[in-house]
Amino acid sequence: MNERSIRVTVNGRTYERTVEVRKTLADFLRDDLDLTGTHLGCEHGVCGACTVIVDGAAVRSCLMFAAQVHEHEIHTVEGLADGERLNPLQEAFHQHHGLQCGFCTPGFLMTLTCFLRECPNPTEAQVREAISGNLCRCTGYKNIVAAALAAARTLGAAARS
C-alpha cells in the first residue's frame, strides 16, 4: 500500500489529500499544501529548520511522514501572524534583528512558540537550551536569544493586563 488518504488540520484549516506513504510531513506541507514557510535544511533531524507544531508539541517535520498526521493538528509559521500583523514573537525577532538570512527563522519561531508556552518567564540559559536544537548558519544566536527574552516580557505583560 503506497498511498494513503489523510485529513489533517493545518493552521485551523482542514485539508484532505492522498499522499505517497514515503512523503515526509515537511515535503507534504511544502509541495502539497504550498506552505513553503517550513524550510528544509538537513533533512535528517539535526538543523531544526523544519520544526512545526504537531498536537501542541514542536517536532521535526522531516522526521515524520505525512501518512502519520491523519486526524492530527499542525501549526506552521504561516499561522503565526494575523494577516499582515506580526505576533509578539515575530515582532520581537523584527525589533531585535533576530534574523539575518532568515532561512532558519521559521524553525526558531515554532520552537520558541512551544517553549514560551511551557516556560513563560525564562532565563537566558533556558532560552539557549531551548533553541539548542535549531541551527543558525549566520550564527546570529545573540539576537535570537534577545528576541526570545523580549517576546517573553511582551507576552507576560499582555497576560497580566
Partner: protein, 297 residues
C-alpha cells in the same frame, strides 16, 4: 535525501502488529518515534520492504509501577518520561538521563523503546537500563520473553530482538530509600551523542554506609557497560571522595574504547574515570540533600 519506497502499515492493535512481524519480520522495520530510523531512511542507509508504524496502537505508552518496578511502555515519548512525576519519584536515574537525549523536538517524538531497540553505543537509555539491571520485555506471536541488558544489547546498533519480536516494555527497579542518582556526560554540543556518559546510583543505610552502588557507561564500547565489580568497591564503606575516586580508577582501568573523529581512546578512558567520579559524587550528594529536606522516602 528522500526515503526509498516501502509498504506502510499502521496496525491498530498489538496482536495485529505481531501477526505482521510473524509473516514479514525479516524485511520489516518498526517505526516508533522515527528520530533515528527516519534519518536512516532519508539517507537510504536502510531499505525495508515494509514499515510497521506503532503509533496508532493504543496502550503501548504507559508509565506505571507494578511489582516494585517502574514499567515504561515502549512507545512512551521521551518527553513524557522526562516530565513524569512518577518517574522522578520512583526511578530518578531515568529522569536524570532524559534531558540529555537529543533536543526537545527529538524527545517530543522519540520513544524509550525506540532508543533501546536502536541501541546506539553512545545512547543514554541503554546505560540507564544497564546500570539498574532492568528487564526488556519482548513480545511475539510465539509468546513473551524478558531479557537482562547483558543479553539484550549484542553489539553496535544490534540487539537480541528477533525479526518477529517487538520490544513492548522496559521494567526498571524502583529506587530504594536513601538512594541518590546522577547521569553525567560530555558531548561536543548540548544534545549531541555523548563522547562518554555515566549513569550512577548510590544507596546508603541509616549510618551513611553504602549498601548498593551501580555504575554504567555509554560511549566506551559496542554496548552499554555495567561496571559491576568497580561499583561494588563502594559497598560497605561511606561514599567519601577518596572511595569515589577509587571507583573511578577501577571503572576506567580495563576499558579499551575506540578512537574516532570526536575523541581518542585515551581521552574517552580519561573521561570514564572523571565522569564516574562526578556522577557518584553528585549521586551521593543528592542522598544528603534528600535527607535534609525530607523530600525522599
Amino acid at each position: 535525501m528522500k526515503p526509498p519506497r516501502f509498504d506502510y502499515v499502521a496496525p491498530r492493535s498489538l496482536d495485529e502488529a505481531l501477526g505482521i512481524l510473524a509473516e514479514h519480520g525479516e524485511d520489516t522495520k518498526v517505526l516508533a518515534g522515527g528520530q533515528s530510523l527516519v534519518p536512516l531512511l532519508n539517507f537510504r542507509l536502510v531499505r525495508p520492504a515494509h514499515l510497521l508504524d506503532l503509533n496508532d496502537i493504543p496502550g503501548l505508552d504507559g508509565i506505571r509501577v507494578a511489582d516494585g518496578r517502574l514499567v515504561i511502555g515502549a512507545m512512551a515519548r521521551q518527553r513524557a518520561v522526562e516530565t513524569s512525576g512518577l518517574v522522578r519519584e520512583r526511578c530518578p536515574l531515568l529522569a536524570d538521563a532524559m534531558p540529555q537525549i537529543g533536543h526537545v523536538q527529538i524527545r517530543n517524538r522519540g520513544t524509550v523503546g525506540g532508543s533501546l531497540a536502536h541501541a546506539d553505543p553512545a545512547g543514554e537509555l541503554p546505560a540507564v537500563v544497564a546500570a539498574l539491571d532492568g528487564e526488556l520485555v519482548l513480545r511475539s506471536a510465539r509468546g513473551e520473553r524478558r531479557l537482562a541488558p547483558d543479553r539484550f544489547f549484542v553489539s553496535y546498533l544490534a540487539t537480541a530482538i528477533e525479526p518477529d519480536e517487538l520490544l513492548v516494555e522496559a521494567r526498571l527497579p524502583v529506587a530504594p530509600a536513601r538512594t541518590g542518582t546522577a547521569f553525567v556526560e560530555v558531548s561536543r554540543r548540548h544534545g549531541d551523542f555523548a563522547l562518554v556518559g555515566v549513569a550512577a546510583s548510590v544507596t546508603v543505610d541509616d549510618g551513611g554506609v553504602c549498601t548498593a552502588a551501580a555504575v554504567a557507561l555509554t560511549g566506551v564500547g559496542p554496548t552499554p557497560l555495567a561496571a559491576r565489580d568497580a561499583a561494588r568497591a563502594l559497598v560497605g564503606v561511606k561514599p567519601t571522595p577518596a572511595a569515589i575516586e577509587d571507583v573511578g580508577r577501577r571503572v576506567a582501568a580495563p576499558l579499551t574504547p575506540d578512537s574516532d573523529l570526536h575523541a581518542s581512546s585515551d581521552y574517552r578512558k580519561h573521561l570514564a574515570a572523571v565522569l564516574t567520579r562526578r556522577a557518584l559524587t553528585r549521586a551521593a550528594a543528592r542522598i544528603a540533600e534528600g535527607d535534609l529536606t525530607g523530600e525522599r522516602r
